[in-house]
């Protein structure tokens, strides 16, 4: 699998895919996309990078253990739900805080944080599985 062409192109491909996954994540609320799909795309990106260049560069690149990322995701999704305590509304009620950044209208919301959580969980879990399988004799 580790042909020269693949190895050369994989880092670019992977980074583009990660970028694209973030785009898909953010547009998800209004256009096709969302945390789940974006997470799958990002996980494929890391899987491809791992197949092409070996697992250690991927692990170095993402810095955290993939399962840690997954855990952070679950935590953010749960805390997005818990935020509604402060508003006195039931668990997971969406909260919205529209702000204007440099003249652009942005809707910040607990729902977005929740979706980011979904993204991170899917990304982390699948990357962890894929990397675990790609690593053969190397120490995990």
């Amino acid at each position: 699998m580790r042909t020269l062409i693949f190895r050369t192109i994989a880092p670019y491909l992977a980074s583009l895919m990660v970028l694209f996954s973030i785009f898909v994540l953010l547009r998800g609320h209004n256009e096709p996309g969302g945390g789940f799909i974006a997470g799958l795309i990002a996980a494929s990106a890391f899987a491809i990078y791992g197949i092409a260049c070996g697992v250690s560069p991927v692990r170095r690149a993402i810095y955290f253990h993939p399962m840690t990322i997954s855990g952070i995701g679950l935590l953010s999704a749960a805390s997005a739900g818990l935020m509604s305590i402060f508003a006195g509304t039931p668990f997971l009620t969406g909260l919205w805080a529209p702000i204007d950044v440099l003249g652009v209208h942005v809707d910040l919301s607990s729902v977005l944080l929740f979706d980011v959580g979904v993204y991170l969980v899917v990304l982390g879990s699948l990357t962890s599985i894929a990397l675990g399988l790609e690593e053969r004799e190397e120490r995990i």
């Binding site: 609320h29 096709p32 494929s44 979904v118 969980v121 879990s125 399988l133 053969r136």
Partner: protein
Amino acid sequence: MAADGPLLTFFVLILPFIAAGLAPLLTRWLAHNAAWVLALAPLFIFYHFAGFLPSVAAGEPVAGGYSWIERLNVEFSWYLDGLSLTFALLISGIGTLVVLYSGGYLKGNPQQGRFFSFILMFMGAMQGLVVADSFLMLFVFWELTSITSFLLIGFDHVREASRRAALQALVVTGAGGLSLLAGLLVITSITGEHSLSAILDSDALRASPLYIAALLLILGGAFTKSAQFPFHFWLPNAMEAPTPVSAYLHSATMVKAGVYLLMRLNPVMGETVAWETILPIFGGTTLLVGTLLAVRQTDLKLMLAYTTVASLGLLVMLTGFGSKVAVEAAVLYLIAHSMFKGALFMVAGAIDHETGTRDITQLGGIGRAMPITFAAAVLAALSMGGLPPFFGFLAKEEIYAGLATGAGWGILLTVVALIGNALMFAIGFAVGLKPFTGARVETPKTPHEGPILLWLGPLVLAVSGLVSALLSEGSHHLISSPMASAVYGEPVSIHISVIPHIGMPLLLSVITVALGILAYMSLARGRAAMTSTLAAIGWGPDRGFDQAIRGLIRSSYSVTGVIQSGRLDNYVTTVFTVLIAALFVPMLVFDELPAIPTFSPLHFYEWAVLAVAFIGLGAVVWARDRLTAIVSLGIQGFAVALIFMLLGAPDLSFTQFMVETLAVVILALVMTRLRLSPTDHRPTREKVPDVLIAVACGLGLSLFLLRVIELPFDTTLSVFFAENSRVIAHGRNIVNVILVDFRGLDTLGEIAVVMIAGLAILALVRIRPGRAQVDLKSARERES
């Protein structure tokens, strides 16, 4: 309700838990002297509850609490009448002394902070148990005492005997707890009430046809907790715990929880034939068995433990006897027992601490070296023996006055009580007198008087056994009479005092003392006789417990062996066979097969996508090697994703593309890792069943989907989502809005599952052959 309001009482109820949290820190700073600070918590509780004494003595119970979950009738509420208040005072009062004693007993133990923490937690649980009004609170605190008792018995967890005893206590009392829960549920369903105070003056329970069921379940809880025969065996084993625990949990407080429950329910469940038959029989048997087994022991703590079992039997017997005087006797004996037995346990611990042995045959003549402990021991033994002018004497007089009524049951039970009391007299002096007097015997350590922390507790308890009897007028007015009234259900006033009254009870007392002295003199012979008798019987509930546990483990191994074959193809076959049954059986039984559908004509590009899907499928089936099959499966999946796209579901299609891609990648990686042979070499006859299962599954799902489509489509939800997605949730992509907002809780559950599955898979991937192999057989050998 008292003027200080419920807030302070609530604080007092959680104070032990707060102290438990602080205990390890304090112990780190102050070492064993932390006991002085920590004892302030129970002392304050004692002071607070003592403030209720006048109003309770005047016949006005203190009640209070907070509503917790109103719709489920869950409350955090308490109810303090004479019974609860006496228990609360015993728990906090003896608790103060035990905390101090623990400071001396476990001095220098690196785990002392942990110990303080556990014992304070237990105190909080026990406190909650006796003041609880709502059933739920009662049950929760009941179980908490079992759990904290488990932690305390197993405190010295490196020793196997400790671990076994802890587990045994937890299993027995935990099972009893479940029985209690069921009993409380039955009571709730009979009366419709959720709290003790609400049922206290109703007759509904006795009249109900479910009375016997409720009674047996409640007794299951009470008898296991209070170590009634044949559930008594866990209590002597629990002596593996450090001595402060034995003094506190296993004599003065926790084991009395069952008696408390019986006393509490006496006004509503007592005075029936079942109550007045079962309780005296079990109580009387326990009394006899307990004292006889106590005679056999040579270990001071075990002797005391068996007499505790016997005393609990006596209490149950008296509670079940049903007469007013018997109830008074039970109340007096309970108070007396908590004081003298707590003191004697602490004395036994102090002897052990100072001499290095608890074996009565290895002890003698240490009285001169430990004068204060000796004094406390003798005072406590005198109370246990029921001699005037001690509180134990009042209790014993009342016991005989209650039982010796001349009726049929009464005579038998009087004899039982007489034998039991005489033997307890002997044991009491064997523990409280024998080690201190006689010729000096060499002990592993040279004894000298322990520090104040070690003798303060027993001395205070022993002296209070004397003072409370001398001032019997006041102690009856404030404590015994209100408690007896609560147990009996009607106002009762106790008048017995230390001045002996000529009569039947006094005569029986004299006989008891005479028999007791006789038994004390011939204790060694009795021990030998009991040992040989028990050896002849050879089996006991303790061994029965082990056999039951072993049987449970063995049967779970055999069940696991059948269900878990360890072969993936078996699991998959089972899962899919069940799926087939689940799909076909309802359709065939209820005649719900779909009608033949009518297809609208397809466009040519739709035909093309379908053709790709079928080619992919064909390739899977006829592929030469596994890798090709996996990739072909991916092709088929892509075609399906295209169909979704054509039908206008971009999100679904998008996801399908990604899932198919990743599935192919991961399956291929798994294949390379498993090092399977590239092709399937099985003969045709082994493939046929798999083919059949696959075809049946596919067919079943298709039929099922067709049938679902034929049903009229309820559009309520889709209309709601379409209308509100933009308005309420500020999103135009309905699918995403449903996922992250409308049905966010589902998604939260799903991502939790994703993560757990990820962890599980990671663990599987990390297993290397030859390492971390689970070997059932060797595990089993270790167990048995």
